[in-house]
Subunit: 277 residues, 2 copies
Amino acid sequence: MNACDSAAVIGLGLIGGSMARDLAARGVNVRAYDANPSHLANALREGVVHEALDGTLAGASRAEVIVVAVPVDATVEVLKRLAPLAANVKLITDVGSTKTRIVATANEVGLGECFVGAHPMAGGHQSGWDASREGLFAGAPVYLCPTQLVREAARCLADEFWRELGAHPLCMDAEHHDRQLAWTSHLPHIMSSALALALARSGVGRHDLGPGGRDVTRLAGSSPDVWAAIAHDNAEAIDGALAAAEVEIAAFRDALAQSDATALRERFSAARVWFDD
Amino acid sequence: MNACDSAAVIGLGLIGGSMARDLAARGVNVRAYDANPSHLANALREGVVHEALDGTLAGASRAEVIVVAVPVDATVEVLKRLAPLAANVKLITDVGSTKTRIVATANEVGLGECFVGAHPMAGGHQSGWDASREGLFAGAPVYLCPTQLVREAARCLADEFWRELGAHPLCMDAEHHDRQLAWTSHLPHIMSSALALALARSGVGRHDLGPGGRDVTRLAGSSPDVWAAIAHDNAEAIDGALAAAEVEIAAFRDALAQSDATALRERFSAARVWFDD
């Protein structure tokens, strides 16, 4: 027995599309909306989505679970649109990489009892419907950030819903989530993008890199819409993390300027100790 | 018919060990030295090395080709030791990530006629004999930096030798190589290590990262000996590349401080344009 028999998925990108595929494969009735009509048409034709919603999202009101899978700035707008429609919905969840503003918005618009924010640590640098696939969440941690008003039934359903997709739920306060993710996800992402921009300006292409350099710059290929919204939403915490990275780069530059082989070795050794830990 | 029937490999780490495996598999007689006696013993027992050399390297004089596969600072010392032994050697090559000082040293110690510096763009963050494997160089670019005094026969042999291992030789001036590699290899490496150190200081472990963050920090696991020597040897060019990365990080921080969503989107978009190019 599934956690739900019907779901509405708003946004059929990498994450929403993969979720729709998993749900449909489990026999869940999936209705969906995407701003790109051709993605929606493809999802219908492939049998992954059973009913297309229009931009009002009105048809989502008849689903047991609603998943909002759009960039985090757009999630806030979608929650406002869902507020008057959700009287009979058991659970609304999302997939954004930042949680504080989204959870606060859910409370403000009156969705606090049924909203459990979620952030699955799955995906990759690819984006869009064409990158979506079944099984994306298998084995992935998913942070769950409920509102303070959430009903116990909604909280349990969120846990069950994500477990059925193969994810491992970890409950976490939204502010704590955003501070932690600034380091574990947003910082690596911006370092990768900053490196890409430095290489671009110096005329070095990605094909000039070896396998190591290609790995370090892989996240530069991610969706600009998704990541601009994340960075904007979690700016203060990310700025602190970037400042810490600047300190480490400056220390490397000092050691280089002083031709200090011992200091260089100590720095690479400390990095490797962290890696092996 | 092989490019050579006998080879001496100095250093049985990831690169030297993999090369010894490839050569032995092709029927080449391999003699080798490694400062770690147990690595040498393992290589002999596995039949990858047919004769162990002692620290004088005297036995290398009877090989047609000598490959120096030790960190770049040690390569300079090994070349000095080889100088009086190499009268009948057809080719000496190496595998270091910096080339200017090594090629200059080969000239200075009288090995200019038979030395062709090499830098295969293969490997990974693993290091040591236990990480070595057959086929490591298949499909990898290898930069060849001959001395100005090199004999045509040695240059041709270097080309043939590396092609037989599956690598694609690209001839390049040593100074040009080092300036280019500061961007394509050394910069990504130090960015990865600096990120690792920033995460270490904030108490974030590698297991806390998602797949993207793990990729960006992968190079932090590389050999500290190898990389301290590379950084020290190519300090000026690397410093310039790090300065360019600092400019890009500072621009991200400016956009975050000003809450400038448009600037953030433009930066992530430019990084993705580079990625897709």
